[in-house]
Structures are given as C-alpha cells and as structure tokens.
C-alpha cells in the first residue's frame, strides 16, 4: 500500500472512531445546553488533562514546534516549559479554580456570563464575547486552512483545497453537533494518549537508527550551520523575546474560549488538583522528544523544502512508511480535534452571550430544550462561516489568527483583576479591555504603533497597559448600582 493510501485510510479510520465515540457520548447526554457545552461539569482528571492539552497543543507539538527547533534551535522547549508548565499551571489555579467554584455556584457556562453577572452589565458580557470571537474566528479559519492544505498536499492535489476543507468542516459540524463536550473530551483523551506514545516511539526509533542521543547531538554540534543550536540563547532567542512569548502565550491560553471553558467542566476539586500537579510533567514528556527531533533533524541534514514540516520528513528518513504515515495522520486528526473544541466554545459564546440576550431584549424567553437546539445551530453557523471566509484567503484574518494568543492575553489582566481586586469597577474593566485590545490590534496593523519595545513584544506591553488603565479608571470611578461585587467576594463560598 502506498504511503498516501495508508495515510488516508488512517485518517478515515480515525474519523470513524471519533464518530463512534461521539455517538456513544450522544446517548449519554441530557438535552441541555450545560451538558452540551460542559458535559454537565463531570470531567475526570485524565480526560480534563488530555482534552485541555490536545485542544491546545496537538498540532503545534507535531508541526510548528519541531519546525522552529529545526530552524532556530531547541530553546523553544524552555519557552514552552515556562509558558505551559509553570505560568499556565499557576493560572489553572488562580483563574481556573476560582472560575470553577463560581461556575458551580452560579451555573456560568462562559467567561462573559461570569463577568456580566458580577458587573451587572449585558454590554460587558457581549464585549467579552465579541473580543473572544474576534480572535477565535480567524484562528478556527486557520485550522481549516491548515487541514485543507495538508489534505491537498497529502493527496498531491487529487483532493483540492475547497473540497478537503469543506469535507473536514462538514465532518466537524456533524461530530460536534452530535457529540458535544463529552464526546470531544473523550476523543481528545484517546488522541492525547496516542500522541504521547507515538512521539516517544518516534524519538526512540530515530535515535536507535542514528546511534543514540550522543551521536545525534554530536552531529548537531559538529555541523557548522547548527553548531550554535546547543548553546542557550542566540539572535533569535533573546531574553526579552523568550519572556514576552512565554508570558503572553501563557496568559493567552487561559483566555482561549475552549481552554477557559474547560475550567467550568471539571468534575471535582480533586480533578483540578491532580491535573494541576501533572501539568509540568506532561509538558516535559511531550515537548522534549518532539522538539529535540526537530533540532536533531537539522544536525542530521534532513532537507526540508519551503513550507514543509520537518517531523514527517525525519520520520520518513529513519522509520518505516507505515509509522510515519501514522504520525502524520495523527497530527491531522489533532488539528481537527482542536477545531472541534473551538467550534463548540465559539458557538457557546455566540449563542449565550450575544444571541440569547438579544432574544431577551426582544422579549422572547428561551427554554432549556430550545437553548440546546440553538446551541447546535450555532455550531453549524460558526463552522460554515469560517469555512466560507477561508475560501477567500483574507490576509487580514490570517494576521489576526496568527496573533490570537497575544490577543487573548490582553483579556487576562482585566479578568484577573476582576477576580481578585475589590476596587475594580465596571468602567475600569471595560476601559481596560477596550484600550488593551485597541492597542494590540493597532500594533498589528499600523506601523505608527511599533510591535516591539526594546525587544519586548507589543502583546506584553498591551497587557501592562490593560493593567494600568483598569486600575486607574477603577480608582477614578465608583461602582455602578447594578454591580454585585459580593458574588466574587463576601458571599462567595457560602452555599
């Protein structure tokens, strides 16, 4: 069997398994929006850990990460460690645990809902949803473009981009509408375990073929092009760049709707505790092998054509065809699974924070059963819109999608202040969100607003700006009458 047929059959096989899992999950669901979006807040440790991980990092671990290590050296491992192993883990507690408690107590499903309730403001709730969708929508579009393009490359053009991306979108819609959060979390778990195993098999296989890590590293050191890779730091990896990247992405991750919403979905406090402690270990187990493979490939002089990914190429050179095919198919499945979760969360922001309040304004009341239906329709609309837009290849949206992590990071500071600082006011948080978002978006598109400041990224500077503005405006204003600070503080914790 040729590699292409093999890869395609593995992809189709994965899709069928996913669909089967989705159907099982469907049979278990209550027909409520809370169950559809959050699996009724019942996820266990392993499922929560892997679904968060798979949602976040799957495609990056296989493709972009090793590519960077191949081109610039393996220091990305350290950036990832600080960002995900430490910063995100700490936020897992600081933001995640408090959100989980609030969600349990008041039944929140989205971040906007949680903030809107506390600040007594539909506007704020809508603003948080709009800002989130502004970054999420192009990011989902990028995933579709990625999967469609990969399928086109894999079949050497037999499946053109529009057909490939269209098929994937149709499948995702079907899957998300049927499976909901529970099904998505289950397939993510399968896929996370699969990734972990294949990455280690891959690295051991390649190392066995080239004579062990010492030989591979020696090749890296003795190659004049890559001799500098082993020393920590360099022209690309400056101190400012490493810190800016780790901090903005680490905070951004916590505000990404599909990650943030998982804070509400944990089954118990124990689940949160365990996943929290396991997080840094999981980072080591996944990033060290996959990124080192990328770096070693540079020393071994694996040639990577423009636009191609290094991991499939090094596997093709040192492992059997079927194994390389398995990893590539797994990576594509990973891409799809990230999109699944984003679709689900995106549609929840859209229906709960924008559409339903709008119906409310028009005087229509939505029953639980009806909301469940609207939620599923929301998924279809969101995915179809992202697909249709992707056909036009809009450059602006590409840029926004690529900057999504830093964009979300701008939300993190006002949200943290809202959770922990009693003096914050509605005017303060609104100003903080608006100003930091505006600043960051302008830094992307206007040359007048620089994108680095003495080596520090605009994303990080924007976070600082958000902090200053939120605090200053809060101190200068007094709480609006409708604000309910007690929800987060005094009354918090009392059943």
């Amino acid at each position: 069997m040729s590699a292409v047929t093999l890869q395609l059959s593995i992809i189709v096989g994965y899709l069928l398994i996913a669909l089967a899992v989705g159907l099982v999950a469907y049979r278990l669901t209550d027909r409520t929006a809370e169950d559809f979006y959050l699996a009724s807040r019942t996820l266990g440790t392993v499922v929560l850990l892997f679904t968060t991980f798979a949602t976040l990092l799957s495609a990056f671990t296989f493709f972009a990460g090793p590519n960077i290590a191949y081109a610039q050296g393996p220091e990305w491992i350290l950036v990832m460690g600080l960002m995900d192993g430490i910063i995100f883990a700490v936020l897992w507690y600081v933001i995640g645990y408090k959100q989980w408690l609030l969600g349990r107590q008041y039944g929140y499903v989205t971040l906007g809902e949680m903030l809107g309730d506390r600040f007594g403001s539909w506007w704020l709730r809508g603003l948080v949803a709009v800002v989130s969708l502004l970054w999420l929508f192009p990011y989902v579009m990028l995933q579709q473009v990625g999967a469609g393009t990969a399928l086109e490359a894999l079949t050497e053009g037999a499946v053109p981009y529009a057909a490939g991306a269209g098929l994937i979108t149709a499948f995702m819609i079907l899957y998300v509408v049927v499976a909901g959060m529970r099904g998505i979390a289950w397939t993510d778990t399968l896929q996370g375990a699969f990734m972990l195993v294949t990455t280690w098999v891959a690295v051991l296989w390649v190392l066995a073929a080239v004579g062990g890590p010492s030989a591979a590293t020696e090749a890296l050191a003795s190659n004049p092009d890559t001799g500098g890779f082993l020393s920590l730091g360099g022209d690309y990896y400056t101190v400012q760049w490493m810190l800016s990247t780790a901090i903005t992405i680490g905070f951004g991750v916590a505000m990404f709707p599909q990650v943030n919403q998982r804070f509400f979905a944990a089954g118990s406090k124990t689940v949160l505790k365990r996943s929290f402690a396991l997080w840094p270990l999981l980072c080591v187990l996944l990033f060290v092998p996959s990124f080192m493979l990328g770096a070693w490939a540079a020393g071994l002089e694996v040639a990577v054509p423009e636009g191609a990914n290094v991991l499939p190429l090094i596997l093709a050179e040192y492992t059997p065809t079927w194994f390389a095919a398995l990893v590539i198919a797994g990576a594509m499945a990973a891409m799809m699974s990230s999109s699944d979760s984003m679709l689900l969360s995106g549609s929840s922001y859209f229906t709960r924070d924008l559409f339903r309040p709008l119906l409310g304004v028009l005087g229509m009341v939505v029953s639980e059963r009806r909301e469940d239906l609207i939620a599923r329709v929301g998924v279809v609309l969101f995915a179809t819109a992202a697909f249709v837009v992707s056909l036009f290849q809009p450059a602006t949206l590409f840029e926004i999608g690529n900057a999504a992590f830093s964009g979300f990071a701008q939300l993190a500071v006002p949200v943290l202040l809202a959770l922990y600082w009693r003096r914050i006011t509605r005017a303060g948080i609104t100003a903080g969100i608006l100003v930091s978002q505006a600043f960051y978006i302008l830094s992307l598109f206007l040359t007048i607003v620089p994108d680095t400041y003495a080596g520090w990224s605009a994303g990080l500077v924007g976070m600082g700006l958000g902090l200053v503005v939120t605090v200053a405006v809060s101190l200068a204003t007094s709480p609006a009458a409708a604000e309910r600070r007690a929800i987060y503080f005094d009354r918090f914790g009392a059943d």
Binding site: V94, P213, L232, M242, G267, S268, K273, P280, Y488, F492
Partner: protein, 95 residues
C-alpha cells in the same frame, strides 16, 4: 497568618517561574549524556515544579480563593466554606 501563607506561596510561584529558564546557563553549550545541560535543568525543574504543585494541592489548595475557615475538603462536593466564613474572609483579596 493565612495572609503570610499566601505571600509565601506567591514567592514560591515566582521562583518556579523565574528559574524555569536557567538564565545562569546562558550561552552554555555543555552536553551531558547526549543533551545540553540546560535541557537537563529544565527536565529536573519541571519535575520539581510538579512536586511543589502537588504539595500545594495537598496543603494549601484554596488559599487566596476560598473564604477563611473553609477546610480543604477534596470530596468535590461544593467545596467552599461555611456561612460564617464571609465575615472574616480575606480570601480573594490578594493581588
């Protein structure tokens, strides 16, 4: 008392974050057992972080978030403090 503990854990968190990248090995290309020594540091440091997080989860979970007086029950039932707690609750007041 509880407040000192919050500051203590905050410092622990900052140290964990501060040394996740071994700045003192900047420019070092020393290789030990086939991997750069800074990568070994990273592996060890993440192991340590995991251990510290586990200890935190065992001993101090809820600090800075739950109202004072609530115990660290891990039953997963509504894991928050008793009614009386909110008078004294400095809980969520840290930066």
């Amino acid at each position: 008392m509880r407040r000192n503990e919050v500051w203590g854990w905050l410092v622990v968190g900052l140290v964990l974050a501060g040394l996740a990248i071994p700045w003192f090995l900047w420019g070092s290309a020393t290789v030990v057992a086939g991997l750069p020594v800074w990568l070994w540091w990273y592996v060890g440091w993440m192991g340590l972080a995991s251990l510290v997080f586990w200890l935190f989860a065992q001993r101090a979970w809820g600090i800075g978030i739950e109202s004072a007086g609530s115990d660290g029950d891990s039953s997963g039932s509504r894991g928050v403090g008793p009614e009386s707690a909110h008078e004294t609750g400095p809980g969520g007041d840290t930066p």
